[in-house]
């Protein structure tokens, strides 16, 4: 026994990343993805530098500037209370970005923990955890999020928690699947054979090898999360006034569709662009990391 090294085989360290030149070459073949990345980068800049870029305070009611169409002083017009739509859309980027990151953070962490535990230990642990997940998966995500929100009460923070929790089952199932295949690997067997503890095996061998499909899922998931959170705010369950959340802005604009097209158009456009871009990037990342699709 003592002759066998306690260091696991080097297989573990092989990352699922390609040489950067290949990535760039692949990217050139997908111009749409480049556009998507650019759009995302733009919105990230908007989000990070919102207070610097927004011409007005997004919640300030500008006297005598109610329902102004787009003009030089208000490029995207003003809303029914006299607030600058451009400033609200810019600050909305900040909120949506936070929603995307927080919700997916929750889903990723909880989903991975549950999935890995279920996949690694199997048996009763797997049975119980996955049975719960299957039940939750039976509900459409937005319905589940609404049910959770109904318990927590409407607010942006609660909406983020609800959207995050409602996404957990999807992540748990993916994590469990990949964990099952990793668990059967020889290096895990080997590690166990030399008496490595469960905690160490999980942290050093299982987690690094099962995580990439979950991360891919998360990239596409950010878009879905933003969309669902916007939907919840549209229904009045998420962001509370005067928060410039895009879904809430749409909801507020719906009674002005006939009189002030700009109120709904620009936040709607922002949601569309960000979600489509995130989906395109997510797809591309999946193709890149999925060995079966490699050329």
């Amino acid at each position: 026994m003592t002759t066998i090294s306690r260091t696991p085989p080097r297989v573990v360290a092989v990352p699922a990343v390609q040489p950067s030149r290949t990535i760039l070459r692949r990217l050139r073949r997908r111009p749409l993805v480049i556009v998507a990345f650019t759009v995302l980068a733009l919105f990230v800049i908007l989000a990070l530098a919102a207070p610097l870029l927004a011409p007005h305070d997004p919640t300030a009611l500008i006297q005598g500037a109610v329902l102004r169409p787009p003009s030089r002083s208000f490029p995207l017009g003003t809303d029914e209370l006299g607030r600058d739509v451009l400033s609200r859309v810019i600050h909305g980027a900040r909120i949506s970005l936070r929603i995307g990151l927080v919700t997916i953070g929750i889903a990723l962490v909880l989903g991975t923990v549950i999935g890995v535990l279920a996949g690694f230990y199997g048996g009763v642990v797997d049975g119980v955890l996955m049975a719960v997940m299957e039940v939750l998966l039976a509900f459409p995500q937005i319905l589940l999020a609404m049910a959770i929100l109904a318990m927590l009460g409407p607010s942006l923070t609660n909406a983020m928690i609800a959207v995050g929790l409602s996404a957990v089952p999807v992540y748990a199932r993916t994590a469990r699947g990949t964990t099952l295949s990793v668990r059967a690997m020889d290096y895990v067997e080997a590690a166990r054979a030399i008496g490595v503890g469960d905690g160490r095996i999980l942290a050093r061998h299982v987690l690094p090898n099962m995580i990439s499909p979950v991360v891919v899922l998360a990239t596409a998931g950010v878009g879905i999360a933003i969309l669902i959170a916007a939907g919840l705010s549209y229904l009045g369950l998420g962001a509370q006034p005067p928060t410039p959340e895009w879904g809430a802005m749409l909801s507020q604009a719906r009674s002005y569709l006939r009189n002030a097209w700009w109120m709904a158009t620009f936040p709607g456009l922002a949601i569309t662009l960000v979600v489509i871009s995130l989906n395109l990037c997510g797809d591309w990342l999946r193709d890149l990391l999925d060995p079966r699709l490699r050329t």
């Binding site: 919640t59 300030a60 009611l61 109610v66 029914e80 209370l81 006299g82 009460g153 409407p154 607010s155 009045g236 509370q240 006034p241 005067p242 507020q252 719906r254 009674s255 002005y256 569709l257 006939r258 009189n259």
Partner: protein, 542 residues
């Protein structure tokens, strides 16, 4: 003539006021849109009137309902013992006549003998007795109808068509309450036969009878061909239209679109579309001031910081109501001053002058007196705590807009107001429990007795007393208003109640909206009732 009277107010574009010429033209146009009085046009039978509602009724049982739309529908499905004409006078309905004893305790009603329920059973004294007793029975758990009849000691069928109601004590709102559609007489036979299903297939005596209810879609009433009479302000006999259909459409923008496509005959116009629809000059538009205060801010006097009357008064001086009205409601209404609007009997005109006005100086002085001083960030502080509170409100567009204006106005005084929206049912439960510091509310009611629901301490935790103010003086005033049967003295008591509520700053009344109804050009003979509904008996379709 009745039709002309009913056109309570012809709406003239507000923008048009700028130029006399334009306003004259629009007045002429509006006049052209007035439907001709019935004597000039021959009503045609048949057709279907499409109405629309944002909410779906909880039940169509008038004695078990808590939703406003059911009350509206019962105007068409049922009849009450007495009713009000278009001027608000009490006139006979199912009761041909009525008398009251000198002590105000015994009311005797002589019923019509030619009325049948939609199920064919006869309306007689026994049926009226059974119907009222059902409304009062504890097992009916009536949210509204039961309390309408007041302190009833006994209902007697004194003859085939004579009913006597004995009260335990004088009850001033009694006559008015009897005109409430939820006090309609229901068929005891149908109640017996249908049991719990009565609420999905109600049976009354009205000009229309129930036909079908498709959940989340529509409710259909058909003409009652056996309707041989009618209240004096409309023609006797069955209505002209074959059917009325109530479409259920939660989204107001969708309602407007459907109306403009011609799918709906009548539309309660959302404030955002009033001017545009007026501008098309295609539709007849009726308007009347809502019977109730459309929006007020109410304080929970048992919780910090509004347990201090100086703080409540300061807030009432810090809000500039006209901006809230102009932006929140697009100016389609009037600023409110007290707990009653001018459209409800009992309103005291002096309240406009009496109520606190926008006065930044007074607001600041009162806040300082109460110990709130500006902190480094401009937010008021007291004992190291910032002045911030949560305003509970419902997802109603005009309320949300108004809340954001109030929020900005209070911010200028260093008061942080957070807005928290709840679905209406949840909101009411939270307000009853008293977990709110302050809330936005509104109401619609036909009589000043509404003050009992809002302010009497017996309604804390159960009714609408969301200020949670347990004040024996206010209670005594309200009790006196209900006992006093002399109308002149009642007016004085209501004046005192309005002044007292303003003195205590339980509310900051914000606005009362004007309701707008748009009617398709093919709809003839439309009248609005002062109690806020469309009279359908004389209505016909071209």
């Amino acid at each position: 003539m009745a039709a002309a009277q009913a056109l309570a107010r012809i709406v003239v574009h507000r923008e048009a006021r700028r130029a006399v010429a334009i306003s004259l033209i629009s007045l002429l146009v509006s006049l052209l849109l007035v439907p001709l009085p019935l004597t000039y046009a021959q009503p045609k039978s048949g057709g279907e009137l499409a109405l629309v509602s944002t909410e779906e009724p909880d039940t169509l049982d008038p004695q078990k309902t808590g939703t406003a739309i059911t009350g509206q529908l019962m105007r068409y499905l049922g009849d009450t013992l007495i009713t009000k004409d278009l001027k608000g006078n009490y006139i006979p309905a199912l009761a041909r006549s009525w008398t009251v004893s000198a002590d105000g305790l015994t009311w005797t009603f002589q019923l019509r003998n030619d009325v049948k329920f939609h199920d064919g059973s006869a309306l007689n004294a026994q049926a009226v007795k059974a119907s009222i007793e059902r409304a009062l029975a504890p097992e009916t758990k009536s949210p509204i109808a039961g309390s309408l009849f007041g302190p009833v000691a006994e209902v007697q069928a004194a003859g085939d068509f004579t009913v006597t109601i004995k009260l335990k004590e004088p009850f001033a709102p009694f006559l008015d309450n009897l005109t409430d559609p939820r006090a309609m007489i229901v068929s005891p036979q149908a109640v017996r036969d249908l049991g719990d299903r009565f609420g999905r297939s109600p049976v009354g005596t009205g000009p229309f009878k129930f036909q079908e209810w498709r959940s989340a879609d529509r409710i259909i009433f058909a003409r009652n061909p056996d309707y041989v009479w009618a209240p004096s302000y409309v023609h006797a006999g069955p209505p002209f239209m074959d059917r009325i259909v109530l479409r259920i459409m939660p989204e107001s923008a969708a309602q407007v679109a459907a109306f403009e496509r011609g799918e709906l005959s009548v539309l309660a116009v959302p404030p955002t579309d009033v001017r545009r629809l007026q501008g098309t000059n295609k539709y007849t538009i009726f308007s009347f001031l809502r019977k109730g205060v459309g929006l007020f801010m109410e304080f929970n006097v048992t919780k910090e910081p509004f347990s201090d009357i100086r703080v409540r008064r300061a807030v009432s001086h810090a809000i500039e109501k006209n901006s809230v009205l102009q932006i929140g409601l697009e100016g389609l209404g009037e600023v409110a001053s007290g707990p009653l609007p001018p459209s409800i009997w009992g309103y005291w005109d002096g309240i406009k002058e009496y109520a606190p006005k926008y006065d930044p100086g007074k607001a600041k002085a009162l806040l300082a007196e109460a110990g709130w001083r500006p902190g480094p960030d401009g937010v008021l502080q007291k004992d190291g705590k910032p002045f911030s509170f949560v305003l509970y409100t419902a997802p109603i567009d005009t309320w949300t807009r108004s809340a954001q204006i109030v929020q900005a106005q209070l911010r200028a005084f260093g008061i942080l107001m957070e807005i928290q929206t709840f679905e209406f049912g949840t909101l009411l439960a939270k307000l009853k429990a008293g977990e709110h510091p302050a809330e936005f509310m509104g109401y619609t009611y036909t009589s000043p007795d509404i003050v009992q629901l809002w302010f009497h301490s017996s309604n804390i935790g159960t009714g609408l007393a969301f200020s949670h103010d347990n004040d024996s003086k206010l209670d005594a005033l309200i009790e006196a208003s209900r006992r006093e049967t002399d109308q002149g003295k009642r007016l004085t008591i209501y004046r005192d109640i309005q002044k007292y509520v303003v003195d205590q700053v339980l509310w900051v009344p914000l606005w009362t909206n004007t309701n707008y109804f748009a009617v398709q050009p093919n709809v003839q003979g439309a009248k609005t009732h002062p109690d806020g509904f469309l009279v359908l008996n004389d209505l016909w379709l071209k």
